[in-house]
Structures are given as structure tokens and as C-alpha cells.
Amino acid sequence: MSPLSPAAQQALEQFQACQQWEQRARLLLQWSSQLTELPKDLRTAENLVQGCETRVWLVLKQKADAIHFEMACEARLLRGLLALLLVRIEGLNAAQITQIEINEWFNQLGLSRQLSPSRSNGLNAVLKRMEMLLQEI
């Protein structure tokens, strides 16, 4: 599995330093505001992720070998979770991305509950859509 990038390492340290849910929530909001969102004209029905109640749009942009995802999301905390997802996979190629254990990554961040199947917040739906887009390459 690919090692953590410096940015991902930094995220890990920040989240591991959090003792309480309030700190984690505030940190998630910070990450949320750092995500560069998919431009409005690309937030189309086609790019909408099916299966989450909160609207998320996802586009895959490939530059040479490296995979680059762009997203937009209505809810701020989910946007923060998506930013943390992206920081883990940014710069990797498709094969490397599929080897990343995303559950383990959110577990390390102390955010594993956000991936539980009863959550309709959409993180699971986004992961499924990413997998699908990667297979189509």
C-alpha cells in the first residue's frame, strides 16, 4: 500500500491529536473549507452520486498516470470527509488507489463511524462511484 503523502501525514497527526468530538468536528470543517470544489457547471445530473441523500457530484480527471478526482458537496462535514479521502489518494495511479484501505484510513483518523452502513451521509456511495469510475479507465 502506498505510504502517506506529507499532506495525509499532517491530517493524521491533526486528527489523532483530537480528544473530543467537538475538536474533530471543527477540524473537519477546516478541511471542508480547503476543498476546491467542482465548478457549478459540472454539477450535473450525470455527475451526481446516486445513493446518498446529501447531494455529491464527482468527476474523475486523469492527467497522464495520476488520477485526480474533483467533487462538490452540499453538506460541510461530508465535504470535510471527502477532502480527507482525497488527500489520501491524491497523486496515486488507479492501481495504487484500489489498494488503499479506505476504512483503515478513516479508522486511523478516528472517523470510522462515518463509514458505517447505516449512514446515509454518502461517503460509502462516493467510494462506490469512485471504484466504478476507476474501473472504466
Binding site: W21, A25, L29, E53, T54, E74, R76, L77, Q114, N121
Partner: protein, 364 residues
């Protein structure tokens, strides 16, 4: 309920309406006693027929299929704008299949159904009126009787969906004059996977069996069969015996409680929730008058707020509440819902508002 389940599984497990052996007889006796007790809780007439199902959703699907043979292209089914998916999709799909008209009765912004307007919509093409006693999103309780009376005068079959209302207002089928009434056990503190369809004696004859299998037949040959009348003709296969007996036990326990005291208690809590939300300038959906409140915080996504409330151990539901057309009608992406039950107390309300304040402090 749990005692009843244990007792059944420890001592009386056997199938019903089949064997001559003693355990079978005991199970059948308990099962039929449960049917009687549930009818008593509903304050139904002895001649009314109670059919067991998996839940409100199955009860409505049953009704759809069992009445379908009476319907022709151009016939009309009426529902309200505030129906949950269970009392919308079965009718919507039936209407599509048979080229029926599905009329959606409008509600006022308060969540109140315009009864006069609804009555005026009834015509000779109207065949079925299917309507909830309480919206699961707006929490606005309706007085449906004038509409039900008008529908019956036109020869329209009437269904009241009590899924949301039954736990807050014990149904009185002496007063509520409809052809069919449905509700679910799990919303009445009972076990999961059990629901009922109560049919009046005058209406049950219109129903044609919809699912087929064991123990519903009077006579069965390879190419033909004769079916038992309701209820057994509508309960093929092995029913959820333990859960049905435990559901009756739950209702027998509910009967021992003071329903006026419960209603008073829930009304006090409901007012406290409404007052607290108003004091915080939350956007309340409609004019809730019973048991639940849906709301949004200005400029905060409902999913964000739900997530932070969840972190603090507050169980609210966020999203479209299985009523997507209603939310679209209200032009909302979703909402949070506080749903109260008799086991809540003022301490819960305080904790909810502390958690809400804390969440809003982080999000705003």
C-alpha cells in the same frame, strides 16, 4: 412483549391452524386470542376482519392487489400530498399498470388537508381514498371523518393509514368510519415485522386473495383451488406467530396505561420542543400539532446538524423521511425530525437543546 416472546419460544412453539396435536392447538388458541385482543384495542366491531401482514407497507400492497380486479382504466384513486412512500407507491404503480388516475389532494402550508376541497374532488370515477391520519413529516393530525363520510356516500372505498398516528392516539374504529385501517406493530412498541389490515365486514368481501400458499385453501387440486374467506384466505404460509402474540401482549399492556395522561405528557413535551425551536429561530415545517416536529436551521445543511447531534447521542432522523414528493413540494432538500414517544421526558428535551446549541455553535 419480551416476556411473551420468551414464553412462546420456551413453551408453545408450534405452527397454527394445522396440526391436531396439543402444542398446535395451544399455539392456534393464543394466535386467535391475539387477533381478538388486537381488534379490541382498535375498538373494532366483532364482525370486522383483522388480517395479519408484515407491516403497514404490506397491508397497503395487499389492499392494492386485492381490490385491483374492481378497477378499470379511468377510475380514480385519491391520496393526500403528505403521504409517506408506503401509502403512495403501491397506488402510483397500480395506477400506472391499470391506467387509473392518481389524484393528490393538496394541503395548506400548515400541513392541514383542505377537507372541503378534497370533498369537492370526489366524483363518480373515484374508487379508492387512501389517506394517513398523521403526516410522518409535518406531524399535523387531521380530522378525516367528514371526508371519509363523503367518500363513502359516493361508494368510494376508504383506507386510513394509522402507521404514524396509532401510537399517539389510540384508534377508535367505532368512531372512525372507514372501510380499511392499517398500522404496524413496531410503531406501537411491539415486535418488528407485524402489521394489520382491518377490514369492515361490508368491505372485506370485495377483496380477492393476492398471495397464495399453504393454509389458505378450502380445496386444492392441481388445476383449481377454492380459498378460505378472510382472514385466513389472506394469510398464506406460516405467519409471524411469536411476534403476533407478542404484539397483542404489547397492546394489552398499553391498554393498562392512562391514555389521557400519555397524551398530556406528549403534548407538554411537544410544546417544549416547539417553543425551544422557535426561540432559536429554527425553520419549522408546517404547524405540527402532534408528537413530532420537522425543522431546519437557517443556512445549515440538515446532514451536518444530524451528524453533530448523532455525535452527542441524540437520535433524530435527517433527510426526506420516505416522503420525497412532500419535501419536493415544500421545496426542501431535507429536514431534521424530532419524534417524541411516551418514554421521553423533559430531561431528554433539555439534552436535545444543549446538543443543538453546541452543534449550531460549531456550524454557524
Amino acid at each position: 412483549m419480551i416476556d411473551s416472546l420468551c414464553q412462546h419460544y420456551k413453551n408453545t412453539v408450534a405452527n397454527v391452524h394445522r396440526a391436531q396435536h396439543q402444542p398446535g392447538e395451544r399455539a392456534t388458541r393464543s394466535f386467535e386470542a391475539a387477533r381478538k385482543d388486537i381488534k379490541h384495542w382498535l375498538q373494532a366491531d366483532p364482525q370486522d376482519v383483522l388480517i395479519f401482514t408484515k407491516g403497514t407497507t404490506e397491508s397497503i400492497n395487499l389492499l392494492c392487489q386485492a381490490l385491483a380486479h374492481h378497477l378499470q382504466a379511468g377510475d380514480e384513486i385519491l391520496i393526500s400530498a403528505y403521504e409517506h412512500h408506503a401509502n403512495l407507491l403501491p397506488w402510483q404503480q397500480l395506477a400506472k399498470n391499470l391506467n387509473l388516475t392518481l389524484t393528490v389532494l393538496p394541503m395548506e402550508p400548515t400541513g392541514h388537508l383542505d377537507i372541503e376541497y378534497a370533498i369537492a374532488q370526489l366524483s363518480t370515477r373515484s374508487r379508492i381514498l387512501a389517506i394517513s391520519a398523521l403526516s410522518n413529516v409535518i406531524g399535523h393530525s387531521q380530522n378525516l371523518q367528514p371526508l371519509l363520510n363523503a367518500a363513502q356516500k359516493q361508494g368510494v372505498w376508504t383506507l386510513v393509514d394509522g402507521a404514524q398516528a396509532a401510537v399517539h392516539q389510540r384508534p377508535n374504529l367505532q368512531l372512525l368510519d372507514c372501510d380499511f385501517y392499517v398500522c404496524s406493530s413496531h410503531k406501537l412498541y411491539g415486535p418488528d415485522g407485524v402489521g394489520i389490515l382491518l377490514a369492515r365486514e361490508r368491505s372485506v368481501r370485495a377483496l380477492r386473495p393476492w398471495q397464495f400458499g399453504g393454509e389458505m385453501v378450502r380445496h386444492c387440486g392441481y388445476h383449481n383451488a377454492e380459498f378460505l374467506p378472510a382472514p385466513l384466505g389472506f394469510e398464506p404460509g406460516t405467519p409471524s406467530i411469536a411476534n403476533i402474540i407478542a404484539f397483542a401482549a404489547t397492546l394489552n399492556w398499553l391498554k393498562t396505561l392512562d391514555i389521557h395522561a400519555i397524551a398530556q405528557h406528549e403534548a407538554t413535551l411537544h410544546k417544549a420542543v416547539l417553543d425551544g425551536l422557535r426561540a432559536r429561530d429554527m425553520q419549522i415545517i408546517g404547524s405540527p400539532n402532534c408528537a413530532l416536529v420537522s425543522f431546519n436551521a437557517p443556512n445549515v445543511h440538515h446532514a451536518d446538524l444530524a451528524l453533530l447531534l448523532g455525535e452527542q447521542g441524540i437520535a433524530v432522523r435527517a433527510g426526506h423521511h420516505c416522503a420525497m414528493p412532500l419535501l419536493q413540494h415544500l421545496n426542501l432538500a431535507g429536514a431534521l425530525r424530532v419524534s417524541l414517544a411516551m418514554y421521553n421526558n423533559s430531561n431528554d428535551i433539555d439534552q436535545f437543546f444543549n446538543a443543538l446549541d453546541q452543534s449550531l455553535e460549531i456550524l454557524q
